[in-house]
Amino acid sequence: MSAQAVSPAPAPSTKEQAPRSSLAMFTTKWAGQIGITFAFLLLWVIFLALAPDTFGGDRIYKSFGQTVPQFGIIAMMLTMVIVSGDIDLSFPSVMGLGMVGFVWVWDATDVVLLGVIAAIGVGAAAGLFNGLVITVVGLPSLVVTIGTQFLFRGMTLVLVGGSSFALAATRGDPARELLVGKPFDIPMEFVWFLGITVLAWVLLNRHRLGGNTYVIGDNAQTARLMGVPIRRTRIMLFVLTGMAAALAGMMLSLQVVNFYPNVGTGLLLPALAAVFVGGTSVFGGRGSIYGTFIGALMIGAIPAGIVASGLTDFWTQAIYGAIILIAISIHAVLQRRFQR
């Protein structure tokens, strides 16, 4: 951006540079998104070339439609938490704790919908607890949510006595169909994932909550001086993440028609990876919902892609790691090149 150095540009040269700079401005603004989109397409083409039978058919995409939302839904709200400069590592345990609310209320009332509402409520309460400890006691979210990750999982195990819980009786219930049904052969999980992606985008970019989120993550001092409701905003983001985790926990449990109290373990890193592969800054103040969406698709496709390409499953982790590192390196380079 050498054009920026001559800020009071004389009139004739301004005219000349106008079209070029509007293209440059477009590239600057969307550099991260363009980069991640290309990376995604490249990965897809590679998988398509290595495993045309698998990636040329529609079965694998229906499978992705069920697996990607398991962590993708949480990754959306997690993106906002990270933009605000916080982090939430407790959500895998909230997935389990929310399900305790589900089975208790469903067991007592025999109404699946009430169970769903209870689970979301428990998720919100867990998020509220995280947010209150972090903002009122004033502890770093990293440490607090490591603590609550253990606490919530421990509570889940104690409350159900460590045993699993059959959910077969929910089959055919409209509330279940709403969460994990397959109208027109499309997994409802993916419909929810799309809806929550749109919701997260609106919240982050078109809602006061998101406007405050960006400023808090960018410069907390500025936020305080400008009268931004910092505590309320941060708590709200943890509540949203808790609700998303409870929803994802329900989907995962209803898919397998069984509630295992360790539901959600193993989804911590995929969700975080989706956020960071998508270009959201670990330092806060900058993030992209679109990026997280694409990041979730990439992270979700890698394990299947690797196996379908003829490599053993043992390769998965290594290639995972390599792709994550490459993606965040691309973001860092684009950031340096375009945003100064």
């Binding site: 540009a9 700079s21 960018d218 001092q221 305080r224 945003q339 100064r340």
Partner: protein
Amino acid sequence: MTERRAANGDAPAGEGSGPRQPGTRQLEMKGVYKSFGGVRVLQNVDFHLEPGEVVGLLGDNGAGKSTLIKIITGYHQPDEGQLLFNGVEVTDLSVPRARALGVETVYQERALAEQQPLWRNIFVGRYISNRLGLMDVGEMRRITERLMTEEMGFTSAVLTPDTTVTGLSGGERQGLAIVRALHFEAQMIILDEPTMGLSLKETEKLLKFVDGIRARGKSAIFIDHNFFHVYSVADRIVVLDRGKVAADFPKSRYTLNELMDIMREIASTGLFEADRSLAGPGDADANAMHGVQS
């Protein structure tokens, strides 16, 4: 005004922006004390601001200037003492409340979120939004664009409302912070070290800007290390020293050279003898000048 209303829905209607009683002071502080962890930063400070007045606040590092203004802006709460806005005592001042009362600040640290676009920096803390909290980003961009061309004088084609603050020079950043203050119908604007890091030309522009604040009938508190700058724009000068008001006089009373002597005297003794021969005899206005014993 609409955007102010939108953001300050909880503010009592008409307060601060309503018609002012003639003769009431814009701001008055009486006997304000403030300590941080046992260190007394402000001690029995009296301070006031008349409508349409520019007060220069002078003092060394650690004299308490920043703390004083952070109390006025609601960022810190005083340990003791009274704050009156337009003659009405305010006991629960917070940042949003101070803003509702028409206090705007251009901070030393500029209070800008660097990675955010200009429009978000202009509207931070009071986005134009509807009852559901959904923002009218288009409107905020348009207002920012207008402020950029009309008020800040940004002519460069590469600067748009979506440009991030990282792309601005020091003077442009200061301009952004000042325009933000003026846009929201501030009744009093506090400028905390506004000339810091500015080029000579940018400083000149800034001082002209302060004259403009007075011309609009608004008042300002101008804080600076450099008393040449303060002297050139202020109507009245208040000197803080080690947390106390060491002097308070109309600028017209002294020449710049005399002011330098006064500053030197305060720096060495911590007080300024009000009965010096320089003072006009018979001037009994206690607020115009008083020395505080240490």
